[in-house]
């Protein structure tokens, strides 16, 4: 059972940082969108410049179709920057799922109320999902409005694909940090482990076009599942979506098991 009092309090406690994150994302989209007309109007120059790059670099930076609306947005926003924001957002909220109350010292009162630890955990996960959905909606809405204003003619279902992949990127990061944070009761450990795993995965993913070994393990790399799809151009990969959802579900189940079976730190 989801405890709405926990969800509302969690959101209210962090509303300033949440608003700041949304404003930052809007600013990023606005700046990138504002630059696009210049890129479009000088497409011949850009195409020449891009062709001079090594193929591997073009692949890493997704430069194949840089001057088209979808190519531009994929390169500037979706190749790294925005997914990284969603990873950080997810990991930050995930790491504090239970550790926030534990480290803050308020756990002894909250967790001696007539609620189960699973109810508490589910409520905090719900909070994380609400935050990610809200951020996804803000970002994709901003993209869609920019698309209308700049006459980019990208269909709305592509923005739906972008939103889905970003949400799952954030959710998987949330699950990873949440599992470690909930198991240890330490926010810094949850966030630290999650970011190390995600950054390592990103390095492997980025270098896959250049290094055969990384290419061989790439199908098993969650960063490939998060970033490997091209939601604006080729849609989503059902396989990757399923893998990310499974990983998140495993994260919740592991957190639940670890949280129910351990002592609460003072």
């Amino acid at each position: 059972m989801i405890l709405d009092a926990i969800v509302r309090r969690s959101l209210r406690d962090r509303w300033r940082s949440l608003v700041a994150c949304q404003v930052g994302l809007l600013a990023l989209v606005t700046v990138q969108m504002a630059v696009y007309p210049t890129v479009r109007d000088t497409s011949t120059d850009w195409e020449g410049a891009v062709e001079s790059f090594p193929e591997a670099l073009r692949e890493i930076l997704r430069l194949e179709d840089y001057t088209s609306p979808t190519g531009y947005l994929s390169t500037e926003l979706l190749s790294f920057v925005v997914p990284f924001i969603f990873m950080t957002l997810g990991a930050t909220w995930g790491a504090r799922v239970t550790a926030e109350e534990e480290e803050g010292g308020t756990a002894d009162i909250t967790w001696t109320l007539p609620i189960t630890r699973r109810e508490y955990l589910a409520s905090r996960w719900t909070t994380g999902i609400v935050v990610l959905v809200m951020t996804t909606l803000v970002f994709t809405s901003a993209l869609w409005i920019g698309n209308l204003l700049l006459d980019m003619r990208i269909s709305i279902d592509h923005f739906g694909n972008v939103g889905l992949m970003l949400f799952l990127t954030g959710l998987t990061s949330f699950a990873l940090a949440g599992t470690v944070g909930t198991s240890t009761g330490r926010r810094s450990v949850g966030l630290g482990v999650a970011m190390v795993v995600l950054i390592t995965g990103f390095v492997f993913y980025s270098l896959a076009p250049l290094v055969d070994f990384f290419a061989s393990i790439n199908p098993y790399n969650p960063l490939q599942w998060m970033l490997g799809a091209r939601p604006l151009t080729s849609g989503v990969s059902i396989g990757y979506v399923a893998l990310l959802m499974t990983l998140s579900a495993v994260g919740f189940a592991s957190s639940d098991g670890a949280f129910r079976g351990r002592d609460i730190r003072v």
Binding site: G104, I264, V266
Partner: protein, 301 residues
């Protein structure tokens, strides 16, 4: 262990933290309508026992049940009737007192507005204040209110009067007494011995993770020897006092005989009257004396 009047049953509780011992083989019960004082030096394991009773720690061995229900079972069943005040009280700073208490009552699926107002009035707590602006004593009052606002039948309090002013302490003692009369079981852990002495029906003394004694204050007093100075006009045969019941040592200072004996001192006094005693100076052992004597003897052994 099946007495229906038993609110809390701790049976053979052992709790280890890795290789560290927390508490070992702790057994105790608390009945409804009883206040159990919980005493022990720092690090004796009091908080470990209380946190295990509240289900925050998992026992390494042994059983703990609250309201007849094992604490390992669904907490929605047994925690609805419990109130807990932790020893290291932390509250969310950016809420008002009332908002925080309302948040807790929502999680309890109750409405306790009237009782919150009543308790706040008695403890002189401003419900509109922000928690971040409260003094330590007023934060402690918030802790007390949240532990009692739903009128629980079992209350576990860890250092409840820490930081409270004397007026609030007095009010708190009255509150506890009223709740006891209504049938509430209370576990009261504190370092303020006279507080326990004043309100507790029985006392548990814990040291180095083990229970040294569980008894009423009066019976605990009987366990330790205290000094009685008997003054005579003429010298008396002090050796005869050695054979009196409860006497542990006898010494002579001029015309005075100094006897160390456990209470009651009936036989010693009868002997002294027979010898023509002119002055008796006796020191009734306090709970503090009992506590110090028992823990010191535990350390010595």
């Amino acid at each position: 262990m099946t007495d229906t009047n038993e609110a809390i049953v701790v049976d053979g509780l052992t709790k280890n933290y890795g290789r560290h011992r927390g508490v070992e083989d702790v057994t105790l019960t608390v009945a409804y309508g009883e206040i159990l004082g919980f005493l022990g030096p720092n690090g004796s394991g009091k908080t470990t026992v209380l946190r295990t009773i509240m289900g925050l720690l998992q026992p390494t061995h042994g059983r703990v049940s609250v309201g007849g229900v094992p604490v390992t079972s669904d907490p929605r069943i047994w925690r609805a009737s419990t109130g807990y005040l932790p020893g290291e009280l932390e509250l969310p700073p950016n809420m008002t007192v009332r908002r925080y208490l309302e948040f807790l009552t929502r999680l309890r699926r109750l409405s306790c507005d009237d009782e919150i107002d009543r308790l706040a009035q008695r403890l002189r707590l401003d419900l509109t204040a922000r928690i971040s602006g409260l003094s330590k004593g007023n934060r402690q009052k918030v802790g007390v209110v949240q532990a009692l606002m739903h009128r629980p039948s079992i209350v576990v309090l860890d250092e409840p009067t820490s930081g409270l002013d004397p007026i609030a302490q007095e009010e708190f003692a009255q509150l506890l007494d009223e709740r006891r009369q209504e049938g509430t079981a209370v576990v009261l852990s504190t370092h303020v011995l006279h507080e326990v002495e004043a309100v507790a029906d029985r006392v548990v003394i814990l040291d180095e993770g083990r229970v040294l004694a569980v008894d009423t204050v009066d019976r605990l007093r009987e366990r330790i020897a205290t000094e009685i100075r008997l003054s005579f006009e003429n010298s008396v045969d002090a050796v005869r006092y050695q054979t009196c019941a409860g006497v542990t040592s006898v010494s002579v200072e001029g015309l005075d005989v100094i006897v160390r004996a456990t209470v009651p001192h009936t036989e010693v006094l009868r002997q002294a009257v027979g010898d023509g005693v002119v002055k008796v100076v006796s020191h009734e052992p306090t709970l503090s004396d009992v506590f110090i004597a028992l823990t010191r003897s535990n350390h010595d052994s």
